[in-house]
Symmetry: C2
Subunit: 540 residues, 2 copies
């Protein structure tokens, strides 16, 4: 049986019909969750990872239709094609082999008759060797001091995933080298960064696949000037992560070394490549990075091999699609009940919205159904005291709660109201999911809660590298499954191009005015002219 496109699936018709029946109050979550076996029937488990969707607006019949949808769109076949190196990024004619970056089982994965594993292994060896030299003080700055800090110069996929993993692990493991992130071309991002480091003990990690990313190149120029003004040798304070044969892959630019990234791994899926590998290995050691890869790989194997009905990322993808396309929720919140996971949300925001925020199919047809939704969130309990008013009494949106069974901090702990802080945290997480589901009647309408607001809860055991790997792998696989089922290419991002082109036009005008202050901006549209006049004037 061939692959069907989303809107042509029988399951889609059925789901649309079922979505009407779900308006009936008998399908209100407060009724659905009465069922004794509810949790058992609507949750899935993998070693160290638990996914509870019992508070989603689903029942057995509905779930069967969702799995039929996965079957009709042949989502698992696509995933398997991806992992074996087939060209799944059709618009860019590329494979998508981030899974190979953490593949400990395969000796080789063929891509265009080229085996990618040796190159992946070579770069990992290089990372291991380099980070060890830094930790052993064999590699030092140009004034002979050890590196205590590293600044990642990279934007988008070149830092968001790494920042998430770094922030999470930093709660658990004291960094050997502190990481800082310089993504923004805003000069004040640079200004704050140099306040936080000592130039003599700082290593700068330039990350750009093409080595042409405007922001990254601008921040690199600024950094080189800064190093020069501090009488430091730039080449002894710089490493480069870039594609083979890019302008950065040249001894004159490389600094202390070049680490290759591959065009079969896209930015937002690149945490497990050198993009995350080098900074994270510098911070925590290569062994910790390897343990993180192991967690990702365990999730990959599950996503690839578990049957549909037991497949966690696939099930989660189907539920997202049910919520967006049939129940018409325009957004999804992610609320980790863990400070350590605070940077998961910006990472998944990019991963999901850049992968799925599209309105054409992989083969160029316009889509008439919902694709990606807005992803946002803050850690709980903070979020409860921020936007949860709207979550409970305003326009509803589904929520993904994340709990960590065992926190890191294990020194003396005080009780308050008879419980420890971590227990209080969990009491709140459990209560929020329940309150959203059941609601509460009240004659005072100000205190009335409609309920029937769906949520999932994910649990991981702890904040070990393995657990963080499981979580990262889960969101990658979930996003990709959504893309395959919805029929969009989760690996391209043509939507960012137009802004770049127009910015380039405006940059040209600024450059001309920089070169010749009498240059006339009158050819510009009046809004652009106003903004540039204001910029050159320096005040409103």
């Amino acid at each position: 049986m061939g692959r069907k496109i989303f809107s042509a699936c029988n399951a889609c018709q059925n789901l649309r019909r079922l979505s009407k029946t779900f308006e009936d109050k008998k399908f209100h979550l407060k009724n659905l969750i009465q069922d004794k076996g509810r949790l058992e029937n609507f949750s899935l488990k993998l070693d160290g990872f638990f996914y509870d969707f019992s508070k989603q607006r689903v029942d057995d019949i509905l779930l069967n239709e969702l799995f039929d949808l996965a079957g009709e769109t042949r989502a698992k076949n696509s995933f398997s094609d991806m992992a074996s190196g087939k060209i799944v990024n059709i618009t860019e004619n590329r494979a998508a082999l981030h899974t190979a970056a953490r593949d400990f089982t395969h000796d080789n994965i063929a891509l265009d008759d080229l085996d990618v594993m040796p190159e992946i292994k070579r770069v990992n060896k290089q990372i291991q060797y380099f980070s060890k030299k830094v930790h052993n003080n064999e590699l030092q700055g140009s004034t002979g001091k050890s590196f205590t800090d590293a600044v990642v110069i990279g934007i988008g996929g070149s830092y968001l995933g790494c920042k998430f993993v770094y922030t999470a692990l930093k709660h658990n493991i004291d960094p050997l080298v502190n990481l800082h992130f310089l993504p923004n071309v805003d000069i004040d991002n640079f200004g704050q960064t140099i306040k936080a480091i000592d130039p003599e003990t700082c290593l700068w990690i330039v990350i750009s696949k093409s080595y042409t990313t405007t922001e990254t190149m601008a921040n690199l120029s600024q950094t080189l000037l800064f190093l020069k003004n501090n009488h430091l040798d730039p080449l002894k304070h710089l490493v480069t992560i870039t594609a083979k044969d890019s302008p950065g892959d040249h001894p004159s630019n490389a600094g202390l070394g070049v680490f290759h990234m591959f065009d079969f791994i896209g930015g937002r899926y690149s945490v497990t490549s050198a993009v995350g590998g080098l900074p994270l290995s510098l911070a925590f050691g290569f062994d910790v990075f390897s343990r993180f890869l192991k967690g990702c790989h365990d999730m990959d194997l599950h996503a690839l091999n578990a049957p549909e009905e037991k497949n966690i990322p696939l099930t989660a993808a189907l539920i997202s699609i049910w919520n967006s396309n049939f129940l018409h929720y325009p957004a999804q919140a992610i609320i980790p009940y863990s400070s350590a996971l605070s940077k998961l949300v910006p990472h998944v925001q990019q991963l999901s919205m850049e992968s799925l925020g599209k309105t054409i199919t992989s083969d160029g047809k316009i889509i008439d159904h919902q694709t990606g939704v807005i992803i946002f969130g803050e850690p709980g309990t903070n979020a409860q005291h921020s936007f949860f008013q709207l979550a409970h009494q305003g326009s509803p949106f589904p929520i993904e709660f994340i709990g960590v069974v065992k926190p890191v901090y294990n020194k003396d702990q005080a009780k308050s109201k008879g419980v420890y802080n971590h227990q209080e945290l969990w009491a709140n997480m459990i209560a929020q999911a329940k309150a959203l589901a059941i609601g509460k009647d009240n004659d005072n309408k100000a205190k009335y809660f409609t309920g029937n607001r769906p949520s999932s809860t994910i649990l991981i055991n702890d904040l070990t590298p393995e657990s963080i790997g499981l979580l990262l792998g889960f969101y990658e696989a979930k996003t990709i499954y959504e893309g395959f089922i919805l029929g969009v290419n989760p690996f391209d991002q043509f939507g960012v191009e137009l802004g770049k082109v127009l910015a380039s036009d405006i940059r040209d005008q600024i450059r001309k005015k920089n070169d010749d202050e009498t240059y006339d901006l009158n050819s510009l549209d009046s809004a652009t002219k106003f903004y540039l006049d204001t910029l050159f004037k320096g005040s409103l």
Copy 2:
């Protein structure tokens, strides 16, 4: 003429009708912005603050209807009632007098025949005196060392606004005392906080109006234990910001002092009260805090006195309502092109979503129109490399861009592609608004941009305390105007209550189990029981 409720306004009928005509391609933004006078006619200015709504989907006729809506709902009268101390928070029978906290012109504002100004002035004097003593080393920790750091123990409105202002000003002014924030009951939030400070030189600022906020009390208990274990006198390392006569307003709890907060200023509007005043004055000095108040006050005066057609927060509120209620956008992004403003978004997220995320009117009737929307965002250019794919080619949402004319960093600057980093930043900000508006045809549908995606652009001059005050005051006034026009009470938050009640039930169970490990959890629903069993077991 009396106040009309939103849905009964003539303007609402007309706006609904006009929203249909706006589907016509003649109202596509690429056509609307052709008009030579567009920017001039659809922008407003106040000294140091510029608001450009020329790329919103509006025209003259539409704008008139929006101002009629403001007139019919008598929004300006409500705002004036608020500022003069009338009971505008009806459900809680309270005034909402955050504007009084920065009122330099009035000698008195009557509230229930009580003049609130002397109390506000008294607390400000106390803040000034206290922070000066810390800066002059007259007040020290229990081992005789000066305070270098302060931790704010407070959640929601007790920290989000302060964190925004602190982060913004820190880019401009080196702190005298570094601030840290401990909102989350997550013990790992505490664990990370104590890694960042030296207990001997750290002051803890406990902020809770009722002095019963669960998270804050739990973190206070944890802090007291920590101070004790470090052989420090808690009373010499603690100050308290709370309501008069709360349990915290007692010498045994107060520590180095009690600063009062007032029940006529709600949490999310409290940055200009002691809640922001004490931490910010410790960080930057009371003079800087006063300059920030001045900026807020300037915006208040404008919001209060400018006629509707010239009133920036009122106009911005009307445009938000047009976007949410008539063009049916479910969310709004805020994208500051400034790293320094990165914490504005979480602040406005709370301010707006907690104020407007409601489905009943101020007087208890169920609302059938859209109220609050999801607010989210990240700084540009970072956001361009994250979720802007969806902004350009996925389901559209309006965006508010914010630009800062003059950055802080003024040392040596490198050029890249012929422009400085701040110029590159602005080229991108200008280009994004334009690209979203005009779109681009392309036979290759993967590279086709629909355009007609609305945005506003706000400019402030710089990152001075006055400019940050204007920005804070703008979002407060805009949110309040939205509430008044939509007919919801922007000052209450009953939607957070149900979760608290259910969390309290679960906490009771945990407490009983803590006290007696044989305590039987079988009376709980199966999901809650599963989560508590997992928590007590300590692993999945």
